[in-house]
Subunit: 204 residues, 2 copies
DNA sequence: TGACGGTTTGACCGGACGGTCAGATCGGGG
DNA sequence: CCCCGATCTGACCGTCCGGTCAAACCGTCA
């Protein structure tokens, strides 16, 4: 990642990225405007363009910085650990990401929805490779009879889908649950643990 | 739904909505332009605005027409049928919607991601009511020991999340699976059937 | 104090966008 | 054939948006 020299450069770049995350995640790439980002950041529009070459450059900086942290939980899944606990740990960490970083999740969802024009190669490269590496681990566990056999890639899809759902569709989740249940995450964690324990329990 | 009198009105409204679905689902509301929609529809921009009062009117017409068909599969879940088969039928129909109407799914996802500014009341009204009605059915099945006890609302969330994932994140799904596996849906159907059978099987 | 690189901004540009309007075109009934 | 309402369009408007630029500002070091 290209990081500026001086303190003030680092500070302003961070301020801009923070504001841009707010605006991009809420309105999508085309829906966001530089004036809006500038106002949230408390900087003038030309000043934004002093630190980033273009609107797209800000977006790309956000996305590439995001992909790293986004895949960390999957990387952390350890082949030498207990299979069910490793997978449940992954689910739990992914759900925590949805709870603590919903803007990042929505930014990513927006990008994929539009056909991933700006991170397609990263998805077809790094992401594809990492998933297939971890699928090797999953298949080994299944062959050893330590978790029930299911299609490993679709298993990972199901984890992504259900955890990100609570960030991306937050409005719908809260509207359906009603105003009584303020925080959906504790119950979601319980539900997902039950679901994956039952799915993965090795058939005696 | 307001439907015009003449044949030509019905035809052109349909043409416009079809084109708008294409463009809105691909670029989101703000990312879509009237010129683009007009070109896809094969009509002039002023002609679009002869049939719809504004860009937003087109979007609202699409969304309200969508919500009806989108909830039909859930409505079709029958309290007097076999519980597991009814739920699996719902999952199957929802997955078929993702396969056959991905544009509609992405349009809806876009709207929810942006905070559902245009269909919030429909979600808090009709959707909320329907979900809670069906949760009553689910709870009854659980009380009778015919399916395993889980949180009914989160069960429905999990169905939505996993089925819509294959439409909304289609690019990612195909990139991760690789070019060999052209159509992800048959395997997805098998995986989801396994998952929900194991989740819902009553504990002996 | 003055000079200088790094930083900030007001004013502006060209293009795109949503929407309007006066008038042209069409098509069927008298 | 003409008329009349429905349908369609070229030209246009005001605004917004991404981006540029010359000039101003600021802290620091000589």
């Amino acid at each position: 990642m290209t990081q500026g020299r001086t303190r003030i450069q680092q500070r302003n770049r961070d301020t801009i990225l923070e504001a841009a995350l707010d605006v991009f995640s809420q309105h999508g790439f085309r829906g966001a405007t530089l004036d809006q980002i500038a106002e949230v950041a408390g900087l003038s529009k030309p000043n934004l363009l002093y630190y980033f070459a273009s609107k797209e450059a800000i977006h790309v900086a956000l996305l590439s910085q995001l992909l790293v942290t986004w895949l960390d939980p999957l990387r952390a899944m350890d082949a030498s650990g207990d299979p069910v606990e490793e997978l449940l740990g992954y689910v739990r960490r992914k759900l925590e990401l949805s709870r603590d970083y919903p803007r990042e999740s929505r930014l990513f969802a927006n990008e994929i929805l539009q056909g991933a024009p700006r991170i397609r190669e990263a998805i077809e490269g790094d992401l594809h490779a990492l998933v297939h590496e971890k699928c090797g681990v999953l298949r080994a566990w299944m062959d050893q009879g330590r978790i029930a056999p299911v299609h490993p890639v679709h298993l990972i899809f199901s984890i992504w889908a259900m955890t990100q759902h609570y960030a991306d569709f937050d409005v719908q989740v809260r509207a359906v649950l009603g105003p009584d249940e303020a925080d959906p995450f504790p119950e979601a964690a319980r539900f997902l643990e039950t679901l994956f324990r039952r799915l993965l329990a090795p058939v005696g």
